[in-house]
Symmetry: C2
Subunit: 403 residues, 2 copies
């Protein structure tokens, strides 16, 4: 194949922001600065929308201090978009690429972003326009195919682990039943991460529910009652995507008017409806005990100043790898492969074909969910713990010997 | 007056946990360890409930590493209680004090805790039982009288500031209208703290609503529309305690069955009802734009690993001061007096009579709320900023010059 063309590049950020999508952007910028093949690096404002509007900024002129500031700041510094480009949309993007001599496209996002990069790449090949399209994975849901895990997940996992550590201490201090609804759409990885902070045998969350298993209400309330009987308190983490016996999400059943975003995904977050419903179910069946419910909300993806150091490092490296790969390959999606576990946790970086990631997603493997469908396994903890970059130790004195 | 008696002491933690109530506990423990007058230091498990049950642990034997661990861990390491002791309850406490030769009582909590200490102190004086009762302030609501601010508030302020910084970046990335409901009961200090992270002229929260001002729905929706017209997006922080024109909280109006805790306070937190209602009001009046809502929930008081360093230091000092004061005085509530502002921020510690703090609370002073009742003043920012211990810088590139 031909050498890497001398041309311009564009980088964009798509979908829901994460704590480390800007670290990936910083990785792209720093690696591009070393590559003479890439003349201008355009940042597109609001992803594919910005390309069509030619709403570009110059990223090569950023100062080092701004670059480092961006790298450590959550959310999408270029703005994002929920647009899911079809063939016609991609054609308009492609016109701008030709006009601006853009022959490198780096797109940080989920499977829809991989798909957009794929369509544009195929389109370019069909007309013999030499260009290179690379997808850099990001999502707090951790549901992308091929890669061991997704940049963005470790930070969200750290956040929910610390949230539940605190909530469990709070529940020890003022005992009762607490329900916390966790993001993750149709994958339970983030809900599972609420278990990572457990340090004592009776630490919560005592129960975790996943979208991968149906959650009948009688089982849910029965499980809560069992824990409450044992510990006089109960902390429950529930994925926003949990389903009833018919595979319909409880939220779908609860929300009369379903607001849909333009990807056709149901909007599961940002509402207290599931949390309040579950708290009500518990109250109705178990009596007037102290039951509280929280929906952790957008903080899970956007909270400032609390990212996982491991996640930031990996996300940045993924950005750099995309640029490196673009010097030798036509297209691809960056992949992390785990080559060491536990204290020897290590990742090797590679690249897979865009079509292997585009438009599909994965869920929690069976070996990560316990046999009673209400908790995680040791295998899951071993998988997810290294991604958080370590969690604080907590203290409770109420079980000390009495005097 | 007589010298400090040689006797035992008890320390307890009451009311809603905070990020630094354990730092105050650590302060009590370390100062007691220097005082030969105090023989045993009992920690009461679950506050006044534990005293009656004689559910005590020995706090003098804690290792230094556990003491430091407790000091940096949120929530109440001794457990807490919502019990509000009346005269009869205090009489039972007093019986245990006499039985165990307890003549020092350190109680970390809100105004109800100051009141409990006051009642017990008066009771002891009446029967000539020499004892000393001290209240150590804590609350995330920052609503205690006399003291400049309350330990626990700075950490909660830092949390909500970083939450809104992130949420505002998220809202820049995917524009729309976002409503965040903030704790604080009937005081707006915590809602006001959401403003502390603003760094650019168009940073959110663009609107903040306080319990100290009535919030008619037409004004609320009109304000949101004005901001949205100007910025094509809007981030709103709302105190959970906002009231309608009749002084009734919106939550009271919304919750049919009001669950009350045993202090007679309405339970305002832990439910998405206010957030979802406000989002619905905006959607109904302004059309089908992207409107989202979160209730920040218990994380505001319990999140692990994110405390304000200033708050931890001050909370610990308040614990130590209580023990010091007990060597010279009969009773009191620890008070922080501000003696320097801005970069010269400094606090002097003192003590006020229990009755000056007991059973009453304060709200935001007028000079902290802007003239349009929907934001804070510079005076508030100057007041609250030092308490957070500093906030991270954030970055957004979408306003950079176009190329």
């Amino acid at each position: 194949m031909a050498g890497a063309p001398k041309a311009n590049a564009v980088v964009g950020q798509s979908g829901g922001p994460t704590g480390t999508i800007n670290a990936s952007l910083a990785g792209v910028i720093e690696e591009v600065s070393k590559r003479s093949e890439i003349e201008n690096l355009y940042g597109t404002i609001h992803a594919v929308e910005g390309i069509i509007r030619e709403d570009f900024i110059d990223l090569k002129s950023l100062s080092v201090s701004v670059l480092e500031g961006v790298a450590s700041c959550p959310s999408a510094a270029l703005g994002s978009s929920r647009d899911k480009p079809d063939e016609e949309y991609c054609r308009r993007i492609f016109e701008v690429f030709k006009k601006r001599n853009i022959r490198y496209f780096f797109y940080i996002g989920g499977n829809d972003s991989a798909n957009a990069a794929h369509i544009i790449n195929v389109m370019a090949a069909e007309v013999g326009y030499e260009m290179r399209a690379f997808h850099i994975p990001k999502t707090i849901d951790n549901d992308l195919l091929v890669t061991d895990h997704c940049p963005g997940y470790g930070t969200a996992a750290k956040f929910v682990a610390c949230a539940l550590m605190g909530d469990d201490l709070d529940n020890r201090a003022l005992p009762g039943i607490k329900v916390d609804v966790i993001m993750g759409r149709h994958a339970g990885f983030l809900a599972g991460a609420t278990a990572l902070g457990r340090q004592r045998d009776d630490d919560g969350p005592h129960l975790i529910y996943f979208p991968e298993r149906t959650v009948p209400m009688d089982k849910f309330v029965g499980d809560v009652e069992d824990v409450y009987t044992k510990f006089d308190r109960c902390v429950v983490a529930v994925s926003e995507g949990i389903c009833d016996e018919n595979g319909v999400t409880w939220t779908e059943r609860l929300v009369k008017e379903q607001e849909k975003d333009s990807h056709g995904n149901i909007q599961l977050s940002g509402s207290g409806i599931l949390a309040d419903f579950l708290a009500g179910q518990i109250r109705n069946k178990l009596g007037a005990m102290r039951v509280r419910a929280d929906t952790l909300g957008y903080m899970q993806r956007s909270f400032v100043g609390f990212q996982s150091a491991v996640d930031i490092k990996e996300a940045r490296r993924c950005g750099r790898e995309a640029v490196k790969c673009s010097m030798a390959e036509q297209s691809g999606s960056i992949v992390m492969k785990r080559v060491g576990d536990g204290e020897k946790y290590a990742i090797k970086y590679g690249c897979t074909e865009l079509r292997n990631v585009a438009g599909a997603s994965k869920t929690m493997p069976d070996e990560f969910i316990n046999s009673t469908d209400n908790g995680v396994t040791e295998a899951f903890v071993n998988y997810a713990m290294p991604l958080t970059g370590g969690l604080p130790k907590t203290y409770y004195l109420g079980n000390n010997p009495k005097v």
